[in-house]
Amino acid sequence: MGYMDKSLTYIHEAILKGEVTPLELVKEALLLAKEDTNNAFEYICEKEALDAVIKLDASKKNNLLYGIPVVIKDNFSTKDIPTTGSSNILNGYVPVFSSEVVTRLEKEGAIIIAKSTMDELAMGGSGTTGHLGVTYNPWDKDKKHQVGGSSCGSAAAVSAGIVPFALGSDTGDSVRKPASFAALVGLKPTWGRISRFGLFPFATSLDHVAYFTRNVYDSAYILNILAGRDDKDASSSFNKVEDYTANLSNSIKGKKIAVIKGIIDSISDKEVVKSFNVSLSYLKAQGAEVDVVDIDVKLLKAIYPTYIIISCAEATSNNANLDGIKFGNRIEGESFEEVMVKTRTNGFSPLIKRRFVIGSFSLLKENQDELFVRAQKCRRLIVNAFNRVFEKYDAIYCPAAPSIAPLVKGSSNNLSDEYLIADNYMAFANMGGYPSITLPLGFENNMPFGGNLTAKPFQESLLLNIAQAIENGTGLKDLVAKRN
């Protein structure tokens, strides 16, 4: 019997009872990873993982992650394990240090069995732009659907039952969107709650460490491990860390939940709206007050372009260190300029380059006011609008996406309301740094879709409490795509 499709707590109990050993778990996960057909992995750490199991400190077996295989998105620096950010420019790069979150997981006894694929440098939402190509949705045996991105490989690994937990990152919705497409719980805590030391930056003011589990309890437990101040990250918060599992079963009676009208109105898929409404009835049944609230549609439509300008601008600067000189896939030239140009021309895909040009153009002195600074101003208006909702409500709740996962070869109308709002609104949680969680809502044609719940900064406990109430209502947890 396998364990990798079970919850963290289940596997932990099994270890404590002596039903299974960490070595057996790691072997199981490695075997599953090697059999993966969804292109979930950049690098399978077979030797490293087997070495790490042997070195496990048995006195720490009460730690929940003791001996548990995990997967890390390939934009987290891992010492002595290749890390490419799924970009050719970093082919061959083997970091000399580990991210703070990786160090914390390893201290708890987690065993890294693989680095997962992603959209190149986390700049994408489809899971199709990494240097290893498309990552598929494990729920679709025909391999026609995306799993979403940018944390595609991590989503695929958890939903395919290869590991019970995987680390991702979320700059616009890069964990919360794929969680919706893969029937997972995806949590992005408050900006600054988890140290980003060692996370390859995409857009610093929007980047968050985030992750996938298959149920809300596991999500809360992982947060207990990852949350906390780190002096190596000047943006990490000094706010007190709580026991995030403590309030999960609290009553949600009297909690006030806002549904944003403009977001629901932009969704055309009736199944999604229906299941969402059913989940609202679970919340009401448990005593929560649910209201439909308006936010100016102009502001909702502004979220995506604002996000694009800010993220591209920060990204072009954040990735300027990728020049092939100190590390990475250097290509020789006659001058240092030629080395840089050849390295970067060959190292980045066209999509990445276009985004860098957009970002750089927005930062030019004569353009800043109308592009970058205007986007920063609009960000303020957007966040103010959501803050006003949070003055009266404990959480905002909406579908995480307008539909099930799109087709790999699909095309979206980039100017439609549905695209501009329902497909991209979740970036508001990055702009305001709010903790935000996606969890399964239902299925359409055997493909999943999810809902998204967002709370005020540092209110992870309340957020997880309400999420638990939704999970209790839907009964949708520990979902794993069947293997073919």
Binding site: G92, Y93, V96, W191, G192, S205, L206, D231, S235, F238, K298, K301, A302, P305, I308, D323, G324, I325, K326, F327, R330, G333, S335, F336, V339, M340, V341, R344, T345, F348, P350, K353, R354, F356, V357, I358, S360, F361, E366, N367, D369, E370, V373, R374, A375, Q376, K377, C378, R379, R380, L381, V383, N384, N414, L415, M431, G432, G433, Y434, P457
Partner: protein, 98 residues
């Protein structure tokens, strides 16, 4: 604002130390059409001009400063192990003309 045309984009790309194909410049021009029109719409939103630009998601002002204590440096071989051209403990480049 600078007019967006291919020449401007080529200059921008070259300043970012890369080249793109003609096809990509055309794609980019199309993308700029969309972005600029969206940003113009944003410019019409009431109050946007008066808003204070937001750099951080919320007020993150703190008082932390790192104590001035040096930690042991990286081993030199380790520091340079990811560089492709190393000579005498230093990274080599074609001669940099000042």
């Amino acid at each position: 604002m600078k007019e967006v045309n291919k020449e401007v984009l080529v200059t921008s790309a070259n300043k970012l130390m890369f080249d793109m194909s003609d096809e990509e410049y055309n794609n980019l021009l199309a993308e700029f059409d969309v972005i600029i029109s969206q940003m113009n719409l944003i410019g019409d939103i009431e109050g946007v001009d008066e808003a204070i630009p937001m750099t951080f998601p919320f007020d993150v002002t703190n008082t932390y400063l790192r104590e001035d204590v040096a930690t042991p440096p990286m081993d030199r071989n380790e520091a340079l192990r990811n560089a492709k051209d190393v000579v005498d403990g230093q990274i080599r480049l074609p001669r940099v003309v000042k």
